[in-house]
């Protein structure tokens, strides 16, 4: 068993190597090997192959490529832009008008895709032209897109939950159920933020659009139903116990093919583009995940779990204090790190702390994913912010940064809710699957 000092050195080394710009997979595999060579000997080093096979030969994780593929097919099938138009019909009357559509459509889109960056890029390309000449404050427009896109992982089915579940042996179905309510609260908080700003400073919220006639609204409603239908089939089949997570994802892929076919966009070329995008995202996630599994394996042999649990017991901090301390830690880390490196880089170390303090793994999973969302939204590194600026091609990135502040504050509020009312995360999974 190695002590807290060695663990801290290893973790520090990992951060330094990551900042040097080495690939995340290299850093994680490298640090694990250094640990294995120093303390455990060659058999553990040579077990690398077996660990790689074991990490990726996994039916639950097959849902990662399937969910990505489902999202890609829906976007390329033309479901997103139609969804945006239909959603704006219904959300326009709220104070803040079209801004709510950014949140709503991102929430819905990210619910069926899985990538926040893809959501940001797609919604920006649709939304930014729509906002031109409508007198909205640019910063709010940009901030609302970024905020909406960051919902990506919290609303199921997201990849972050699957990765966390695989690393900590937590049920993906439970995690998905747990993310539902916090995701909904987060969406409401974002929309409330917009409404408050619009009421306090009507000048920022643009010109009021005349309401579209009801018949047109109802006619367009079908485009909202298509992605909603896929979402309900996927999540419904999990919650009713009809399907496992991977089966539901397969069901979703078939449904998305049907939606794309209905929009007459189902072509071999479109499918091939979806395949390539899916392969890229899947491989990126799984290579890091495979390295993280090996790191986890080595850390387990090194006795890091016991070592850290003893530290927690000696501190005797309450779970709320521990979670706030971690929130601060992740806030700082999130300034520099993206979702996946942050998740897989810290969970092997942090998870033993958390379980030793008696925090429910499902509760912590939702907390962890929320921290990842904050990292996506926090300047100056959040990828989504740069993606939005990249699609915008005018003005300065500072306007995007300024626009995110109100939404970052509501995320901190969400963190407080989640820490002090664990039931927001635990109520639904216990209801669906029993305690």
């Amino acid at each position: 068993m190695i002590g807290p000092l060695e663990i801290a050195i290893g973790f520090g080394l990992m951060l330094v190597l990551m900042f040097m710009g080495l690939h995340v997979v290299t850093v994680m595999a490298g640090v694990a090997m250094i640990g294995a060579v120093t303390y455990l000997g060659t058999p553990v080093v040579f077990a690398f192959g077996t660990q790689l096979w074991g990490a990726t030969e996994d039916y639950v994780l097959l849902s990662i490529p399937l969910y990505i593929l489902l999202g890609e097919i829906l976007v390329r099938g033309g479901a997103t832009d139609r969804m945006y138009a239909s959603l704006s019909d219904w959300l326009n009357p709220l104070p803040g008008g079209l801004l709510h559509t950014n949140i709503g459509s991102s929430a819905l889109f990210s619910a069926v895709s899985g990538s926040s960056v893809a959501t940001a890029a797609t919604i920006s390309t649709i939304a930014l032209p729509a906002f031109r000449h409508r007198g909205y404050d640019q910063r709010l427009v940009l901030g609302s897109i970024a905020a909406g896109a960051s919902l990506g992982n919290l609303i199921p089915p997201g990849i972050a939950f699957l990765v966390y579940g695989a690393m900590t042996n937590t049920s993906a179905g439970r995690l998905y159920a747990a993310g539902l309510l916090p995701g909904a609260i987060m969406t409401v908080l974002f929309m409330a933020t917009i409404a408050l700003i619009a009421l306090a400073r009507p000048k920022l919220a643009g010109v009021k659009e005349p309401d579209a006639p009801m018949s047109a609204k109802l006619g367009r409603l079908v485009h909202l139903l298509a992605p909603l239908f896929v979402f309900l089939v996927v999540m419904g089949s999990i919650y009713t116990g009809w399907a496992t997570v991977s089966e539901s994802a397969a069901l979703g892929v078939v449904c998305s093919l049907a939606v794309a076919a209905a929009y007459r966009k189902l072509t071999v070329k479109m499918l091939h583009q979806s395949f390539l995008a899916t392969a890229r995202l899947t491989a990126m996630s799984l290579l890091i995940l495979a390295a993280a599994f090996y790191l986890n394996f080595v850390l387990g042999l090194l006795g890091v779990t016991q070592s850290l649990s003893e530290v927690v017991k000696s501190i005797q901090a309450s779970s709320a204090v521990l979670l706030w301390a971690l929130a601060l830690f992740y806030l700082l880390l999130g300034i520099f790190f993206e979702t996946l490196p942050m998740l897989v880089g810290t969970v092997p170390i942090v998870f033993p702390f958390v379980t030793a303090a008696g925090i429910d793994p499902v509760h912590f999973g939702v907390f962890m994913v929320l921290m990842c969302e904050i990292s996506l939204l926090s300047p100056p590194v959040g990828m989504t912010l740069y993606v939005i600026q990249g699609v915008r091609r005018e003005g300065s990135i500072d306007e995007v940064f300024q626009g995110t502040w109100p939404f970052l504050l509501s995320m901190v509020a969400m963190t407080a809710i989640l820490i002090h009312v664990p039931q927001t995360a635990l109520w639904l999974p216990n209801l669906f699957f029993g305690k």
Partner: protein, 201 residues
């Protein structure tokens, strides 16, 4: 390296495997839905869809590694990197490629050990399918082999460029620029009639 015929052929091979993985996923999804329907309606279960699914993930992710590498997709933290002088950037980019190649080659070697052990002991899965493990594992190993070849070649090219052309080195082996990232995430997506369709470059 894009003007090199061998390298172009290699890229085409990687692309072929990537597209084949996609079709395989579609086929597997359809079979899964069929299996679910049969199970619900006739309480009759096709054995082994889950097992094949597990092998699928191992194999398609292994093939995906080299595709993501060619697309420069593998995640790096470029917060500090982009703020460094060109010379240092070039050195760190070369170091990143060289260490990644080391990991990839080591992984391929250990993957080979897993495969050759399965062949030697004629290992079968303990499920009703009793799959001979060399079958999925040889495809899986092929993915790692391609990944190792790609990473080693690119690392060698990066070293070669380090002595000649730092700007080009950073362009080819640095983290993707923002435009490239957006293009990769949204490539081929055409949205709305009046929306700008050129998101990249």
């Amino acid at each position: 390296m894009d003007d090199n015929r061998v390298w172009r052929g290699f890229s085409a091979l990687v692309r072929f495997f990537t597209l084949a993985s996609g079709w395989w996923l579609i086929a597997l999804s359809v079979v899964t839905c069929f299996e679910m329907a049969v199970r619900k309606l006739f309480s009759f279960s096709l054995q082994g869809v889950d097992e094949v699914g597990a092998y699928t993930l191992a194999v398609i992710s292994a093939f995906g590694f080299s595709y993501a590498l060619l697309m420069r997709g593998h995640t790096r933290v470029d917060f500090l990197l982009s703020r460094l002088p060109v010379r240092l950037q070039a050195t760190l980019n070369t170091l990143a490629m060289a260490t990644l190649a080391a990991v990839a080659v080591f992984a391929a070697w250990r993957a080979w050990a897993v495969l050759s052990e399965s062949i030697e002991f004629d290992s079968h899965s303990t499920s009703p399918l009793q799959t001979p493990l060399w079958l999925p594992q040889s495809l899986w190993f092929t993915g790692y082999l391609l990944f190792a070849i790609a990473a080693a070649t690119m690392a060698a090219h990066a070293c070669w460029l380090l002595t000649r052309d730092h700007a080009r080195l950073n362009r080819v082996y640095g983290p993707p620029t923002l435009d490239e990232e957006i293009e990769a995430e949204t490539g081929g997506i055409r949205i709305g009639a009046d929306a700008p369709t050129e998101t990249g470059r």
